[in-house]
Protein backbone atom coordinates (compact mmCIF):
# COMPACT_ATOMS: atom_id res chain seq x y z
CA UNK A 1 0.00 0.00 0.00
CA UNK A 2 2.75 2.40 1.02
CA UNK A 3 4.68 1.72 -2.11
CA UNK A 4 1.63 2.23 -4.29
CA UNK A 5 1.03 5.63 -2.70
CA UNK A 6 4.62 6.64 -3.07
CA UNK A 7 4.51 5.53 -6.64
CA UNK A 8 1.35 7.58 -7.28
CA UNK A 9 2.90 10.65 -5.75
CA UNK A 10 5.97 10.15 -7.81
CA UNK A 11 3.79 9.82 -10.88
CA UNK A 12 2.13 13.17 -10.24
CA UNK A 13 5.40 14.83 -9.38
CA UNK A 14 6.83 13.67 -12.60
CA UNK A 15 3.92 15.18 -14.49
CA UNK A 16 4.93 18.77 -14.10
CA UNK A 17 1.92 20.29 -15.90
CA UNK A 18 -0.55 18.37 -13.73
CA UNK A 19 1.22 19.58 -10.65
CA UNK A 20 0.87 23.16 -11.75
CA UNK A 21 -2.87 22.70 -12.29
CA UNK A 22 -3.32 21.21 -8.84
CA UNK A 23 -1.29 24.06 -7.39
CA UNK A 24 -3.67 26.62 -8.89
CA UNK A 25 -6.67 24.56 -7.83
CA UNK A 26 -5.41 24.45 -4.27
CA UNK A 27 -4.76 28.17 -4.21
CA UNK A 28 -8.28 28.77 -5.52
CA UNK A 29 -9.91 26.30 -3.16
CA UNK A 30 -8.26 27.65 -0.04
CA UNK A 31 -10.14 30.96 0.16
CA UNK A 32 -13.39 29.32 -0.95
CA UNK A 33 -13.22 26.73 1.80
CA UNK A 34 -12.28 29.35 4.34
CA UNK A 35 -15.07 31.65 3.23
CA UNK A 36 -17.66 28.92 3.56
CA UNK A 37 -16.34 27.91 6.98
CA UNK A 38 -16.97 31.46 8.18
CA UNK A 39 -20.65 31.23 7.30
CA UNK A 40 -23.11 30.21 9.99
CA UNK A 41 -25.18 27.09 9.42
CA UNK A 42 -28.63 27.74 8.06
CA UNK A 43 -31.94 26.88 9.65
CA UNK A 44 -33.68 23.62 8.93
CA UNK A 45 -36.25 25.07 6.55
CA UNK A 46 -34.55 27.24 4.01
CA UNK A 47 -36.08 29.44 1.42
CA UNK A 48 -34.48 31.48 -1.21
CA UNK A 49 -36.25 34.55 0.03
CA UNK A 50 -37.10 35.82 3.48
CA UNK A 51 -39.42 38.50 4.67
CA UNK A 52 -41.22 39.64 7.79
CA UNK A 53 -44.63 39.88 9.42
CA UNK A 54 -46.10 41.58 12.45
CA UNK A 55 -48.31 40.40 15.29
CA UNK A 56 -50.60 42.78 17.09
CA UNK A 57 -51.91 41.91 20.54
CA UNK A 58 -55.12 43.77 21.36
CA UNK A 59 -55.88 43.63 25.07
CA UNK A 60 -59.48 43.28 26.17
CA UNK A 61 -61.49 42.16 29.17
CA UNK A 62 -64.50 40.13 28.10
CA UNK A 63 -64.91 42.13 24.90
CA UNK A 64 -64.27 45.59 26.37
CA UNK A 65 -61.00 47.40 25.74
CA UNK A 66 -58.54 47.04 28.61
CA UNK A 67 -57.89 50.34 30.37
CA UNK A 68 -55.44 50.15 33.25
CA UNK A 69 -56.35 51.58 36.67
CA UNK A 70 -59.71 53.05 35.66
CA UNK A 71 -62.29 50.66 34.27
CA UNK A 72 -64.08 48.12 36.43
CA UNK A 73 -64.62 44.64 35.03
CA UNK A 74 -66.36 41.51 36.28
CA UNK A 75 -64.92 38.05 36.62
CA UNK A 76 -66.93 34.88 35.89
CA UNK A 77 -68.16 34.89 39.49
CA UNK A 78 -69.59 38.38 38.98
CA UNK A 79 -66.99 40.03 41.21
CA UNK A 80 -65.78 43.52 40.31
CA UNK A 81 -62.09 44.08 39.66
CA UNK A 82 -59.64 46.58 38.18
CA UNK A 83 -56.34 45.88 36.47
CA UNK A 84 -53.20 47.95 37.13
CA UNK A 85 -50.55 45.73 35.53
CA UNK A 86 -50.92 43.26 32.69
CA UNK A 87 -47.85 41.81 31.00
CA UNK A 88 -46.81 38.41 29.70
CA UNK A 89 -44.24 36.51 27.64
CA UNK A 90 -44.77 35.02 24.21
CA UNK A 91 -41.88 32.84 23.09
CA UNK A 92 -40.73 30.13 20.70
CA UNK A 93 -43.07 31.15 17.90
CA UNK A 94 -43.48 28.39 15.35
CA UNK A 95 -45.17 28.60 11.97
CA UNK A 96 -46.44 25.61 9.99
CA UNK A 97 -47.31 25.17 6.37
CA UNK A 98 -50.14 23.01 5.03
CA UNK A 99 -47.61 20.32 4.06
CA UNK A 100 -46.65 19.96 7.72
CA UNK A 101 -43.25 21.63 7.47
CA UNK A 102 -42.49 24.05 10.27
CA UNK A 103 -40.33 27.07 10.92
CA UNK A 104 -39.31 27.91 14.48
CA UNK A 105 -38.41 31.56 14.77
CA UNK A 106 -35.00 31.54 16.44
CA UNK A 107 -34.54 33.49 19.66
CA UNK A 108 -38.17 34.57 19.67
CA UNK A 109 -38.84 35.99 23.11
CA UNK A 110 -41.29 38.87 23.49
CA UNK A 111 -42.59 40.66 26.55
CA UNK A 112 -45.98 42.18 25.87
CA UNK A 113 -46.91 44.93 28.33
CA UNK A 114 -50.22 46.80 28.33
CA UNK A 115 -48.46 49.90 29.70
CA UNK A 116 -46.03 49.99 26.75
CA UNK A 117 -48.02 50.28 23.55
CA UNK A 118 -45.01 49.59 21.33
CA UNK A 119 -44.66 46.18 22.95
CA UNK A 120 -48.11 45.16 21.69
CA UNK A 121 -46.99 45.17 18.06
CA UNK A 122 -44.10 42.81 17.42
CA UNK A 123 -42.18 42.37 14.19
CA UNK A 124 -40.73 39.05 13.16
CA UNK A 125 -37.99 39.25 10.60
CA UNK A 126 -36.16 36.78 8.37
CA UNK A 127 -39.04 34.37 7.94
CA UNK A 128 -38.88 32.20 4.81
CA UNK A 129 -41.55 33.36 2.39
CA UNK A 130 -44.56 31.11 1.91
CA UNK A 131 -48.11 30.41 3.03
CA UNK A 132 -48.44 29.43 6.68
CA UNK A 133 -51.58 27.78 8.04
CA UNK A 134 -50.78 27.41 11.73
CA UNK A 135 -49.04 29.39 14.45
CA UNK A 136 -48.06 28.22 17.89
CA UNK A 137 -46.09 29.71 20.73
CA UNK A 138 -45.28 29.30 24.39
CA UNK A 139 -47.19 31.42 26.86
CA UNK A 140 -44.19 32.12 29.04
CA UNK A 141 -40.59 31.00 28.68
CA UNK A 142 -39.26 27.52 27.92
CA UNK A 143 -37.76 25.44 30.74
CA UNK A 144 -34.08 25.94 29.84
CA UNK A 145 -34.14 29.73 29.75
CA UNK A 146 -35.61 29.88 33.24
CA UNK A 147 -32.34 28.49 34.56
CA UNK A 148 -29.92 29.91 32.02
CA UNK A 149 -27.38 32.55 32.90
CA UNK A 150 -27.74 36.31 32.66
CA UNK A 151 -30.08 37.19 29.79
CA UNK A 152 -30.68 40.31 27.81
CA UNK A 153 -33.50 41.86 25.75
CA UNK A 154 -37.02 40.69 26.66
CA UNK A 155 -35.56 38.27 29.20
CA UNK A 156 -33.45 40.90 30.98
CA UNK A 157 -34.29 40.73 34.71
CA UNK A 158 -34.61 44.52 34.58
CA UNK A 159 -38.10 43.96 33.13
CA UNK A 160 -39.43 42.88 36.52
CA UNK A 161 -40.48 39.46 35.30
CA UNK A 162 -37.69 37.39 36.92
CA UNK A 163 -37.92 35.90 40.38
CA UNK A 164 -34.54 36.56 41.97
CA UNK A 165 -35.07 34.31 45.01
CA UNK A 166 -36.47 31.31 43.13
CA UNK A 167 -34.97 31.28 39.65
CA UNK A 168 -37.46 31.55 36.86
CA UNK A 169 -39.60 33.95 34.93
CA UNK A 170 -43.02 35.26 35.72
CA UNK A 171 -44.85 34.21 32.57
CA UNK A 172 -48.01 36.22 33.10
CA UNK A 173 -48.35 39.08 35.57
CA UNK A 174 -51.70 40.62 36.43
CA UNK A 175 -52.03 43.02 39.33
CA UNK A 176 -55.07 44.99 40.32
CA UNK A 177 -57.74 45.22 42.96
CA UNK A 178 -61.16 43.86 43.81
CA UNK A 179 -63.51 44.78 46.65
CA UNK A 180 -63.82 41.02 47.20
CA UNK A 181 -60.09 40.58 47.78
CA UNK A 182 -59.16 39.91 51.40
CA UNK A 183 -55.57 41.08 50.81
CA UNK A 184 -54.18 44.43 52.01
CA UNK A 185 -55.81 47.30 50.05
CA UNK A 186 -58.01 44.72 48.30
CA UNK A 187 -55.07 43.89 46.07
CA UNK A 188 -54.96 41.24 43.40
CA UNK A 189 -51.52 39.73 42.74
CA UNK A 190 -51.33 37.06 40.08
CA UNK A 191 -47.71 36.23 39.20
CA UNK A 192 -47.88 33.04 37.19
CA UNK A 193 -44.69 31.06 36.62
CA UNK A 194 -42.78 27.97 37.66
CA UNK A 195 -41.54 25.13 35.47
CA UNK A 196 -41.07 22.25 37.86
CA UNK A 197 -43.73 19.56 38.24
CA UNK A 198 -46.25 19.41 39.78
CA UNK A 199 -46.43 23.19 39.46
CA UNK A 200 -45.24 23.58 35.90
CA UNK A 201 -47.07 26.50 34.31
CA UNK A 202 -45.55 26.41 30.81
CA UNK A 203 -48.48 26.39 28.40
CA UNK A 204 -48.58 26.39 24.63
CA UNK A 205 -51.08 28.21 22.48
CA UNK A 206 -51.72 27.15 18.93
CA UNK A 207 -54.27 28.07 16.34
CA UNK A 208 -55.02 27.00 12.81
CA UNK A 209 -55.14 29.73 10.23
CA UNK A 210 -57.99 29.65 7.72
CA UNK A 211 -56.50 28.03 4.62
CA UNK A 212 -58.49 30.45 2.46
CA UNK A 213 -56.52 33.33 3.96
CA UNK A 214 -53.24 31.93 5.23
CA UNK A 215 -50.37 34.00 6.57
CA UNK A 216 -48.86 34.95 3.22
CA UNK A 217 -45.29 36.03 3.71
CA UNK A 218 -43.87 37.56 0.56
CA UNK A 219 -40.91 39.79 -0.11
CA UNK A 220 -43.35 42.51 -1.17
CA UNK A 221 -46.05 41.71 1.41
CA UNK A 222 -45.56 41.82 5.15
CA UNK A 223 -48.79 40.54 6.69
CA UNK A 224 -50.17 41.46 10.10
CA UNK A 225 -51.75 38.95 12.48
CA UNK A 226 -54.23 40.38 14.94
CA UNK A 227 -54.82 38.59 18.21
CA UNK A 228 -57.44 39.46 20.81
CA UNK A 229 -56.03 38.88 24.29
CA UNK A 230 -58.67 38.53 27.01
CA UNK A 231 -57.18 39.30 30.43
CA UNK A 232 -60.28 37.90 32.15
CA UNK A 233 -59.30 34.46 30.80
CA UNK A 234 -57.03 34.07 33.83
CA UNK A 235 -60.06 33.65 36.02
CA UNK A 236 -62.28 31.27 34.06
CA UNK A 237 -62.10 28.43 31.56
CA UNK A 238 -61.28 25.47 33.76
CA UNK A 239 -61.76 26.87 37.24
CA UNK A 240 -63.85 29.94 38.00
CA UNK A 241 -61.76 31.93 40.45
CA UNK A 242 -63.28 33.96 43.26
CA UNK A 243 -61.14 36.82 44.51
CA UNK A 244 -62.52 36.21 47.98
CA UNK A 245 -60.56 32.96 48.16
CA UNK A 246 -57.74 33.48 45.66
CA UNK A 247 -56.21 36.93 45.30
CA UNK A 248 -52.46 36.21 45.58
CA UNK A 249 -50.29 33.65 43.83
CA UNK A 250 -46.60 33.61 42.94
CA UNK A 251 -46.07 30.14 41.54
CA UNK A 252 -47.33 26.92 43.07
CA UNK A 253 -50.62 25.03 42.81
CA UNK A 254 -52.82 28.13 42.54
CA UNK A 255 -50.69 29.43 39.69
CA UNK A 256 -51.34 26.14 37.89
CA UNK A 257 -55.11 26.76 38.18
CA UNK A 258 -54.67 30.15 36.55
CA UNK A 259 -52.35 28.79 33.83
CA UNK A 260 -54.89 26.08 32.99
CA UNK A 261 -57.48 28.82 32.62
CA UNK A 262 -55.50 31.11 30.36
CA UNK A 263 -54.20 28.24 28.24
CA UNK A 264 -57.80 27.97 27.02
CA UNK A 265 -58.93 31.52 26.50
CA UNK A 266 -56.16 34.11 26.69
CA UNK A 267 -55.48 34.31 22.95
CA UNK A 268 -57.78 34.31 19.96
CA UNK A 269 -56.65 34.92 16.40
CA UNK A 270 -59.06 37.58 15.15
CA UNK A 271 -57.88 38.25 11.62
CA UNK A 272 -54.94 38.53 9.27
CA UNK A 273 -54.19 41.46 6.98
CA UNK A 274 -52.32 40.02 4.06
Amino acid sequence: MTTVLEHTQFYYLSKFSKMKISQYLLALLCPIILLSSCKKSDDDITANTKSSFTIEFEHQVNGAALALNTNTYKNAKGEDFKINVFKYYVSNIKLSKADGSTYLIPESYFLIDESKSASKLITINDVPTGDYTKIEYTIGVDYARNFAGAQTGALDPINGMFWTWNSGYIFVKLEGSSPKSTATSNMLTFHIGGVVDPNNTIRTFSTEINAANPLRIRTDAKPNMHFIVNAAALFTGTTDISFASLNFTMGGANSVLVANNYAKGLFRLDHIHN
Partner: protein, 345 residues
Protein backbone atom coordinates in the same frame (compact mmCIF):
# COMPACT_ATOMS: atom_id res chain seq x y z
CA UNK B 1 5.33 35.42 -13.52
CA UNK B 2 1.75 36.69 -13.16
CA UNK B 3 0.68 33.16 -12.35
CA UNK B 4 3.05 33.10 -9.44
CA UNK B 5 1.60 36.39 -8.33
CA UNK B 6 -1.91 34.95 -8.44
CA UNK B 7 -0.85 31.99 -6.33
CA UNK B 8 0.81 34.35 -3.91
CA UNK B 9 -2.23 36.62 -3.76
CA UNK B 10 -4.55 33.66 -3.12
CA UNK B 11 -2.38 32.43 -0.29
CA UNK B 12 -2.26 35.89 1.27
CA UNK B 13 -6.05 36.07 0.99
CA UNK B 14 -6.33 32.67 2.65
CA UNK B 15 -4.20 33.75 5.54
CA UNK B 16 -6.16 36.98 5.89
CA UNK B 17 -9.41 34.99 5.96
CA UNK B 18 -8.05 32.65 8.57
CA UNK B 19 -7.39 35.65 10.76
CA UNK B 20 -10.84 37.05 10.06
CA UNK B 21 -12.35 33.79 11.29
CA UNK B 22 -10.33 33.52 14.45
CA UNK B 23 -11.39 35.35 17.56
CA UNK B 24 -9.47 38.32 18.80
CA UNK B 25 -6.88 37.41 21.33
CA UNK B 26 -7.10 39.38 24.52
CA UNK B 27 -4.54 42.04 24.99
CA UNK B 28 -2.85 41.23 28.23
CA UNK B 29 -0.47 43.39 30.09
CA UNK B 30 2.52 41.08 30.54
CA UNK B 31 3.09 42.42 34.03
CA UNK B 32 -0.32 41.23 35.19
CA UNK B 33 -1.03 37.73 36.35
CA UNK B 34 -3.27 36.08 33.81
CA UNK B 35 -6.50 35.21 35.58
CA UNK B 36 -7.35 31.59 34.97
CA UNK B 37 -9.96 29.13 36.08
CA UNK B 38 -8.16 25.97 37.08
CA UNK B 39 -9.70 22.66 38.06
CA UNK B 40 -7.78 20.87 40.82
CA UNK B 41 -6.84 17.36 39.70
CA UNK B 42 -8.87 15.80 42.51
CA UNK B 43 -12.06 17.64 41.40
CA UNK B 44 -14.54 16.52 38.73
CA UNK B 45 -15.34 18.78 35.78
CA UNK B 46 -17.32 21.89 36.75
CA UNK B 47 -20.97 22.67 36.07
CA UNK B 48 -20.30 26.28 35.10
CA UNK B 49 -18.51 26.66 31.80
CA UNK B 50 -17.00 29.91 30.66
CA UNK B 51 -17.95 29.29 27.03
CA UNK B 52 -20.62 32.04 27.05
CA UNK B 53 -18.60 34.25 29.36
CA UNK B 54 -15.00 34.39 28.21
CA UNK B 55 -12.76 34.90 31.21
CA UNK B 56 -10.47 37.93 30.85
CA UNK B 57 -8.41 39.93 33.26
CA UNK B 58 -10.55 42.98 32.54
CA UNK B 59 -13.82 41.07 33.12
CA UNK B 60 -12.51 39.60 36.36
CA UNK B 61 -11.25 42.99 37.56
CA UNK B 62 -14.62 44.60 36.85
CA UNK B 63 -16.48 41.80 38.62
CA UNK B 64 -14.24 42.12 41.63
CA UNK B 65 -14.72 45.89 41.78
CA UNK B 66 -18.51 45.44 41.67
CA UNK B 67 -18.28 42.76 44.37
CA UNK B 68 -16.52 45.14 46.73
CA UNK B 69 -18.47 48.33 45.90
CA UNK B 70 -20.80 49.30 48.77
CA UNK B 71 -22.17 52.22 46.75
CA UNK B 72 -24.37 49.71 44.93
CA UNK B 73 -26.58 49.22 48.02
CA UNK B 74 -29.55 51.38 49.02
CA UNK B 75 -27.70 53.32 51.73
CA UNK B 76 -24.24 52.79 50.23
CA UNK B 77 -23.16 50.81 53.27
CA UNK B 78 -23.18 47.20 52.12
CA UNK B 79 -21.24 45.45 49.38
CA UNK B 80 -21.21 41.74 48.51
CA UNK B 81 -17.86 41.70 50.29
CA UNK B 82 -19.44 43.01 53.51
CA UNK B 83 -21.05 39.64 54.20
CA UNK B 84 -18.63 37.55 52.13
CA UNK B 85 -15.24 38.26 53.66
CA UNK B 86 -12.14 36.69 52.18
CA UNK B 87 -10.54 35.98 55.56
CA UNK B 88 -13.66 33.94 56.38
CA UNK B 89 -13.48 32.09 53.05
CA UNK B 90 -16.08 34.61 51.84
CA UNK B 91 -18.50 33.79 54.66
CA UNK B 92 -19.33 36.33 57.37
CA UNK B 93 -17.16 36.06 60.45
CA UNK B 94 -18.96 36.24 63.81
CA UNK B 95 -22.30 37.10 62.25
CA UNK B 96 -25.11 34.64 62.86
CA UNK B 97 -27.09 36.16 60.05
CA UNK B 98 -26.18 38.74 57.44
CA UNK B 99 -26.53 42.42 58.24
CA UNK B 100 -27.98 44.38 55.37
CA UNK B 101 -28.70 48.04 54.74
CA UNK B 102 -29.92 50.12 57.70
CA UNK B 103 -28.60 47.41 59.99
CA UNK B 104 -31.38 45.09 58.91
CA UNK B 105 -30.80 41.58 60.26
CA UNK B 106 -31.38 38.88 57.67
CA UNK B 107 -32.71 35.48 58.58
CA UNK B 108 -29.89 33.28 57.33
CA UNK B 109 -26.15 32.87 57.76
CA UNK B 110 -24.08 34.10 54.80
CA UNK B 111 -22.60 31.01 53.14
CA UNK B 112 -18.94 30.92 52.09
CA UNK B 113 -18.18 31.52 48.41
CA UNK B 114 -15.80 29.13 46.67
CA UNK B 115 -16.01 26.21 44.28
CA UNK B 116 -19.24 27.76 43.04
CA UNK B 117 -18.53 26.57 39.51
CA UNK B 118 -19.38 23.07 40.69
CA UNK B 119 -22.60 24.07 42.37
CA UNK B 120 -25.92 23.83 40.50
CA UNK B 121 -28.19 25.58 43.00
CA UNK B 122 -27.45 28.46 45.34
CA UNK B 123 -28.49 29.83 48.72
CA UNK B 124 -29.49 27.69 51.69
CA UNK B 125 -32.75 26.74 50.01
CA UNK B 126 -31.34 26.15 46.51
CA UNK B 127 -33.76 28.68 45.04
CA UNK B 128 -31.33 30.18 42.54
CA UNK B 129 -30.29 27.85 39.76
CA UNK B 130 -27.52 29.69 37.96
CA UNK B 131 -24.38 31.29 39.34
CA UNK B 132 -24.80 34.26 37.01
CA UNK B 133 -28.19 35.24 38.43
CA UNK B 134 -27.24 34.66 42.08
CA UNK B 135 -26.21 38.26 42.88
CA UNK B 136 -29.71 39.51 41.96
CA UNK B 137 -31.12 37.89 45.06
CA UNK B 138 -28.84 39.72 47.47
CA UNK B 139 -29.04 42.95 45.50
CA UNK B 140 -32.84 43.10 45.64
CA UNK B 141 -33.45 41.58 49.08
CA UNK B 142 -35.00 44.21 51.35
CA UNK B 143 -32.71 43.12 54.17
CA UNK B 144 -29.51 42.90 52.16
CA UNK B 145 -28.68 45.55 49.55
CA UNK B 146 -32.31 46.65 48.96
CA UNK B 147 -31.85 48.09 45.52
CA UNK B 148 -32.67 47.12 41.96
CA UNK B 149 -30.77 46.58 38.81
CA UNK B 150 -32.03 49.82 37.14
CA UNK B 151 -30.62 51.89 39.99
CA UNK B 152 -27.30 50.08 39.80
CA UNK B 153 -27.06 50.55 36.03
CA UNK B 154 -27.80 54.27 36.37
CA UNK B 155 -25.14 54.59 39.07
CA UNK B 156 -22.51 52.74 37.06
CA UNK B 157 -23.22 54.74 33.90
CA UNK B 158 -22.58 57.98 35.72
CA UNK B 159 -19.64 56.90 37.84
CA UNK B 160 -16.06 56.83 36.56
CA UNK B 161 -14.19 54.64 35.92
CA UNK B 162 -17.02 52.14 35.39
CA UNK B 163 -17.87 52.97 31.75
CA UNK B 164 -14.19 52.59 30.88
CA UNK B 165 -13.97 49.31 32.82
CA UNK B 166 -16.98 47.94 30.92
CA UNK B 167 -15.27 48.94 27.69
CA UNK B 168 -12.12 47.10 28.67
CA UNK B 169 -14.11 44.03 29.67
CA UNK B 170 -16.72 43.90 26.92
CA UNK B 171 -15.52 46.16 24.13
CA UNK B 172 -17.93 49.06 24.62
CA UNK B 173 -19.10 51.35 27.38
CA UNK B 174 -22.63 49.88 27.29
CA UNK B 175 -23.75 48.86 30.76
CA UNK B 176 -26.59 46.39 31.19
CA UNK B 177 -27.60 43.69 33.65
CA UNK B 178 -26.08 40.93 31.56
CA UNK B 179 -22.64 42.52 31.55
CA UNK B 180 -22.83 43.26 35.26
CA UNK B 181 -23.78 39.69 36.09
CA UNK B 182 -21.32 38.08 33.71
CA UNK B 183 -18.40 40.09 35.04
CA UNK B 184 -19.39 39.32 38.63
CA UNK B 185 -19.46 35.65 37.67
CA UNK B 186 -15.96 35.94 36.26
CA UNK B 187 -14.94 36.87 39.78
CA UNK B 188 -17.06 34.42 41.78
CA UNK B 189 -16.55 31.39 39.55
CA UNK B 190 -12.78 31.81 39.67
CA UNK B 191 -12.85 31.46 43.47
CA UNK B 192 -11.57 27.90 43.68
CA UNK B 193 -10.44 26.43 46.95
CA UNK B 194 -8.53 23.22 46.33
CA UNK B 195 -5.16 23.67 47.98
CA UNK B 196 -5.87 22.59 51.53
CA UNK B 197 -3.66 20.09 53.25
CA UNK B 198 -6.39 17.52 52.59
CA UNK B 199 -6.16 18.21 48.84
CA UNK B 200 -2.38 17.92 48.84
CA UNK B 201 -2.51 14.64 50.71
CA UNK B 202 -5.14 13.33 48.29
CA UNK B 203 -3.01 14.39 45.34
CA UNK B 204 -0.01 12.70 46.98
CA UNK B 205 2.04 15.87 46.77
CA UNK B 206 5.47 15.35 48.24
CA UNK B 207 5.95 16.50 51.80
CA UNK B 208 2.25 16.23 52.72
CA UNK B 209 0.74 13.54 54.91
CA UNK B 210 -1.89 13.43 57.64
CA UNK B 211 -0.73 13.27 61.25
CA UNK B 212 -1.96 10.22 63.15
CA UNK B 213 -4.71 12.34 64.76
CA UNK B 214 -5.79 13.77 61.41
CA UNK B 215 -5.81 10.32 59.86
CA UNK B 216 -7.89 8.92 62.72
CA UNK B 217 -10.24 11.87 62.19
CA UNK B 218 -10.42 11.22 58.45
CA UNK B 219 -11.33 7.59 59.04
CA UNK B 220 -14.01 8.57 61.55
CA UNK B 221 -15.27 11.20 59.12
CA UNK B 222 -15.62 8.63 56.35
CA UNK B 223 -17.50 6.37 58.72
CA UNK B 224 -19.87 8.94 60.20
CA UNK B 225 -20.13 12.05 58.02
CA UNK B 226 -19.48 11.47 54.32
CA UNK B 227 -22.95 10.18 53.50
CA UNK B 228 -23.94 13.87 53.35
CA UNK B 229 -20.62 15.74 53.41
CA UNK B 230 -19.27 13.85 50.42
CA UNK B 231 -15.75 14.34 49.09
CA UNK B 232 -14.24 16.23 47.38
CA UNK B 233 -16.64 19.15 48.05
CA UNK B 234 -17.65 17.93 51.50
CA UNK B 235 -21.29 18.24 50.51
CA UNK B 236 -23.46 16.12 48.26
CA UNK B 237 -25.41 19.30 47.41
CA UNK B 238 -28.61 17.71 48.72
CA UNK B 239 -31.15 19.23 51.12
CA UNK B 240 -31.63 17.75 54.56
CA UNK B 241 -32.98 18.32 58.02
CA UNK B 242 -30.31 17.67 60.63
CA UNK B 243 -32.78 17.97 63.51
CA UNK B 244 -31.90 21.43 64.79
CA UNK B 245 -35.48 22.00 66.00
CA UNK B 246 -38.62 19.94 66.43
CA UNK B 247 -40.39 22.49 64.26
CA UNK B 248 -38.15 24.75 62.20
CA UNK B 249 -38.74 28.49 62.52
CA UNK B 250 -37.56 28.84 58.91
CA UNK B 251 -39.53 27.04 56.22
CA UNK B 252 -36.30 26.33 54.32
CA UNK B 253 -36.55 24.62 50.97
CA UNK B 254 -40.33 24.31 50.99
CA UNK B 255 -40.36 28.04 50.24
CA UNK B 256 -38.92 27.09 46.87
CA UNK B 257 -40.61 23.79 46.07
CA UNK B 258 -43.91 24.30 47.85
CA UNK B 259 -43.61 20.73 49.15
CA UNK B 260 -44.38 20.04 52.80
CA UNK B 261 -41.75 17.30 52.74
CA UNK B 262 -39.18 20.07 52.18
CA UNK B 263 -40.26 22.10 55.20
CA UNK B 264 -37.32 23.08 57.39
CA UNK B 265 -34.69 21.41 55.24
CA UNK B 266 -31.57 23.17 53.94
CA UNK B 267 -28.66 22.55 51.63
CA UNK B 268 -25.90 20.43 53.15
CA UNK B 269 -23.08 22.99 53.50
CA UNK B 270 -19.52 22.38 52.42
CA UNK B 271 -17.02 21.80 55.23
CA UNK B 272 -14.06 23.18 53.34
CA UNK B 273 -12.46 26.08 55.24
CA UNK B 274 -14.84 25.30 58.11
CA UNK B 275 -12.20 26.55 60.55
CA UNK B 276 -12.93 30.10 59.33
CA UNK B 277 -16.61 30.05 58.36
CA UNK B 278 -18.29 30.10 61.79
CA UNK B 279 -20.85 30.60 63.12
CA UNK B 280 -22.50 27.50 61.74
CA UNK B 281 -25.90 26.27 60.46
CA UNK B 282 -28.43 28.19 58.34
CA UNK B 283 -29.17 30.52 61.24
CA UNK B 284 -25.64 30.65 62.63
CA UNK B 285 -26.77 29.21 65.97
CA UNK B 286 -23.49 27.40 66.76
CA UNK B 287 -20.40 29.48 67.40
CA UNK B 288 -17.81 26.73 67.24
CA UNK B 289 -17.20 23.22 66.00
CA UNK B 290 -17.55 21.75 69.50
CA UNK B 291 -21.16 22.90 69.59
CA UNK B 292 -21.74 21.48 66.11
CA UNK B 293 -20.30 18.07 66.96
CA UNK B 294 -22.18 17.97 70.26
CA UNK B 295 -25.39 18.67 68.35
CA UNK B 296 -24.86 15.52 66.30
CA UNK B 297 -23.83 13.56 69.40
CA UNK B 298 -26.68 14.52 71.68
CA UNK B 299 -28.82 17.32 70.29
CA UNK B 300 -30.61 15.97 67.22
CA UNK B 301 -34.37 16.59 67.53
CA UNK B 302 -37.02 14.36 66.00
CA UNK B 303 -38.15 16.88 63.38
CA UNK B 304 -40.80 15.66 60.95
CA UNK B 305 -38.46 15.67 57.97
CA UNK B 306 -35.36 14.57 59.88
CA UNK B 307 -32.89 12.74 57.68
CA UNK B 308 -33.34 9.03 58.45
CA UNK B 309 -29.62 8.52 59.04
CA UNK B 310 -29.72 10.98 61.91
CA UNK B 311 -32.58 9.27 63.74
CA UNK B 312 -30.27 8.26 66.56
CA UNK B 313 -27.80 11.10 66.14
CA UNK B 314 -24.12 10.38 65.57
CA UNK B 315 -22.47 9.17 68.71
CA UNK B 316 -19.09 10.80 69.24
CA UNK B 317 -16.93 10.57 72.36
CA UNK B 318 -14.51 13.33 73.31
CA UNK B 319 -11.46 11.82 71.64
CA UNK B 320 -13.43 11.12 68.46
CA UNK B 321 -14.56 14.75 68.40
CA UNK B 322 -10.95 15.92 68.75
CA UNK B 323 -9.87 13.65 65.92
CA UNK B 324 -12.64 14.85 63.63
CA UNK B 325 -11.86 18.47 64.44
CA UNK B 326 -8.19 17.86 63.63
CA UNK B 327 -9.21 16.41 60.28
CA UNK B 328 -11.63 19.25 59.54
CA UNK B 329 -8.80 21.74 60.00
CA UNK B 330 -6.92 20.03 57.17
CA UNK B 331 -9.69 21.44 54.94
CA UNK B 332 -8.41 24.97 55.52
CA UNK B 333 -6.95 26.45 52.35
CA UNK B 334 -4.71 29.33 53.37
CA UNK B 335 -3.49 29.88 49.82
CA UNK B 336 -7.08 30.67 48.88
CA UNK B 337 -7.84 32.79 51.91
CA UNK B 338 -4.68 34.85 51.46
CA UNK B 339 -4.66 35.06 47.66
CA UNK B 340 -4.38 38.79 46.98
CA UNK B 341 -5.93 38.34 43.52
CA UNK B 342 -9.26 38.00 45.31
CA UNK B 343 -8.74 40.82 47.78
CA UNK B 344 -10.26 44.26 47.67
CA UNK B 345 -7.70 46.50 46.06
Amino acid sequence: MWRKSIVFAMLVLSIALMYACSKNEDVINPEETKITFSVPSNFPSPAYQFEDNQLTNAGFALGKKLFYDARLSADKSVSCGSCHQQFAAFANLDHKVSHGVDNCQGKRNAPPLFNLAWQKAFFWDGGVKNLETSPLNAVTDACEMRTDIETIIAFLKSTAPYPELFKQAFGSTDINSQRILKSMTQFTAVLVSGNSKYDKVMRKESGYSFSSTELAGYNLFKEKCTSCHAEPFFTDFSYKSNGLDLVSADEGRSHITGLSTDFGIFRVPTLRNIEYTGPYMHDGRFYNLDEVLEHYNSGVKAATNLDARLKNGISLNESEKEHIKAFLKTLTDNEFIKNTLYSES
